[in-house]
Amino acid sequence: MFSTRTVKDMDSLMLSSIVSLSLIGFVSASVLFVASKKFKVYEDPKIDQVEKLLPGANCGGCGFAGCRNFAEAVVKAGKLEGLNCPVGGSAMMIEVGKVIGIEVLASEPLIAVLRCNGTKANAVAKINYDGASNCVVAHALFSGESGCPNGCVGLGDCVKVCQFDALYMDEQTGLPVVDEEKCVACGACVKACPRCLYELRPKGPNGTRVYVACMNTQKGVVAKKNCNVACIACMKCVKVTDSKSVSVTNQLSYIDTNVNAREHGPALIGCCPTGAILGVKIAGIKSVKSESNS
């Protein structure tokens, strides 16, 4: 059958297909052109501009589903109140502010801080847990291997959610460690921890900071039974500072983020009888081992 066709037949076949396909193409193109004009949705070009500035990690640290959603929210609101990309930091937010035409003051960079120092040595395990390796499961099930109901259960939910590789488990201590270089304070670990052990605190001038590494709200006697470095609410830290920057509520001390670590740090760390107050890069005081490693 194939051999009976002539070259002329083939020519006319090709010609007709080219013509008909071009026609279809032209008609569809005109339909699309008309539709694009008639149903056009106006989109603020600023959204694209803001999105280009953002890190593009889609980490959700800002509370939105992704960077595009955040950009849309910023442009729609026209202001930056309550909107912040912790990953990009203040330098980037200033740029974002320029796009939407407002001035942004530089803010201090933040870092995630683990408010628990219940290492394997400090909070000795009394029981062994061999259930599912998930902090939320363990938290719902029991108080933890050491018995402290507020301490780190050490199963690494925070490490799993960190998209910036800034957290890792220290096998020796059994606690997660924050890598100072990599942490962008997106807050994913703050949300993931069932015991709310993470706090975003300012990195501090030259990285000096001081904080209470305990979240135990039990009475001192009970807390100390489970962990050597628990805060026992003895009030000594309140007395050594002249300001109102240290407060004790619910059997737990809290050092305000605006405390000058270099000035008050040594006194605060020195006065704590249990060693619940930790400092980073404070002269004369040994830094938190894990953080100074990074």
Binding site: K126, I127, D130, G131, A132, V136, V137
Partner: protein, 447 residues
């Protein structure tokens, strides 16, 4: 035996290990200090009505019910209230407890301590419910749902049959078995009382066929009690689950998504609860003690003890010959649904049906491997769920989809995890899913 009734869907058959089924119930000596938690039941915690230094007798009201679904708490010992403070419970978290230093054994005067059987039921329906409520009786099968709430049939609904749960499908446990053998008459009067309160004519006692002596004993006893019959059942876990037992005995199916047994005209009570109801109504004795099994392969003398609420677990272990050296886990409840204890100082509560000591070897979990979608968990789930899927969704935190997959129907029987050849922690993650979906549902209700 194969033509015996059972539930049609799923189920597993773990080995029985009923080591203590032929051991007579002994009375455990009084503890030196009793710690009585204020929350021993499902629902709102009770509110303490005693204070430090108060003298209490056995049966004195310690705490009043704190809501509609809540229960009174009575003193199980006589002595002085040392303090009302927080102490660790089974989970290791601190819970409010009344701590009593035990002095002597003086009972409230109105409690009838004689052992004579009191057959005649003089109280009216309303009175019975009120007495059960005041006595602080909760479901003694383990879920500890306040019994008086179950006895109040909501308007527009009618109870047709009362099912008494004598299944005891958990391996090792024998406390219900002993109650059925040793206190059959009292229990049967208790059933009569519940029948009167519910206004039903028919009661069925469901017993698995691995307890032939109990079936025989009760079958001969029930001849004197018209309306009560015994139904032998095929051995299958989790037949003691309310929904499974109803399906096995009546063939009725409790509706999904929050359906209750009363929707199909059934009320289920445990044998221990029936006994407690008898003691409360006929003898004015509140719920202050219960039969508990202490068992385990390496336990010297596995047995059944009548234990006062608030006794530390260690007392019970000592009575059975001390903690064996190769102990791996101490479990409150049975091996399938029980919970490992974090300390032996925790008190026995209303819902403790047994203490199981597992050897080191038994207690260890088998290393996990990967899910190969073999579907064993699906075939054993008595509720027709897909545990492998729920497990994955829970790990990936897709809680809205979990809700659509009916995770809230899960009764946490653990059949899936028991049967999983990859030994995955299926139930752990399904519990997580239930927890999070529960939060979702509550937040939606509040908005």
């Amino acid at each position: 035996m194969s033509d015996l009734k059972t539930f049609p869907k799923g189920g597993v058959h773990p080995s029985d290990h009923k080591l203590s089924s032929q051991k007579k119930t002994l009375i455990l000596p009084l503890p030196k200090v009793a710690k009585i938690p204020l929350s021993q039941h499902l629902g709102a915690p009770a509110v303490a009505v005693v204070k430090k230094g108060d003298q209490v007798k056995v049966g004195t009201l310690l705490a009043k019910s704190g809501g509609f679904i809540s229960a009174n708490i009575h003193s199980s010992v006589s002595g002085t209230v040392a303090m009302i403070s927080e102490a660790t419970d089974t989970s290791g978290y601190l819970k409010e407890m009344v701590v009593i230093n035990v002095e002597g054994d003086e009972w409230e005067v109105n409690i009838d301590r004689s052992t004579d059987l009191k057959l005649e039921i003089v109280n009216t329906r309303e009175e019975i419910i009120e007495i059960v409520k005041n006595a602080g009786i909760v479901g003694l099968g383990g879920a500890t749902f306040p019994t008086h709430v179950k006895l109040m049939v909501p308007p527009g609904k009618k109870a047709q049959v009362l099912i008494i749960n004598g299944v005891e499908c958990e391996p090792y446990l024998t406390s219900d078995h002993r109650v059925m053998l040793e206190r059959a008459d009292e229990m049967l009067v208790g059933i009569k009382i519940i029948m009167k309160a519910l206004n039903v004519e028919k009661a069925v006692i469901g017993i698995e066929s691995n307890k032939p002596d109990a079936i025989e004993h009760l079958a001969s006893k029930t001849k004197d009690y018209p309306g009560i019959s015994v139904q032998p059942l095929k051995v299958m876990y989790p037949q003691g689950g309310e929904k499974q037992l109803i399906k096995a005995i009546t063939g009725r199916e409790v509706p999904n998504k929050g359906g209750l047994p009363i929707d199909v005209g059934v009320v289920v009570q445990n044998v221990g609860t029936a006994l407690a109801v008898y003691e409360a109504v006929q003898k004015h004795k509140p719920l202050i003690e219960r039969v508990i099994t202490i068992t385990g392969k390496s336990v010297k003398n596995p047995g059944n003890y009548l234990v006062r609420i608030g006794t530390p677990v260690i007392d019970l272990i000592e009575a059975s010959g001390g903690l064996p050296e190769d102990s791996g886990k101490i479990i409150s409840g049975g091996p399938m649904m029980g919970k490992a204890l974090t300390s032996t100082e925790v008190p026995i509560v209303k819902g403790t049906s047994g203490i199981l000591i597992m050897t080191d070897k038994e207690a260890k979990r088998i290393p996990q491997s990967n899910c190969i979608r073999c579907g064993k968990c699906v075939s054993v789930c008595p509720l027709g769920l897909e545990p492998y899927l729920l497990y994955q969704l829970s790990i990936k935190r897709k809680f809205d989809r979990l809700e659509n997959e009916d995770v809230m129907n899960c009764c946490e029987c653990g059949s899936c995890q028991f049967t999983c050849p990859a030994s995955l922690p299926l139930l752990d993650y399904m519990r997580l899913g239930k927890l999070e979906v529960g939060k979702l549902i509550r937040s939606r209700k509040n908005n």
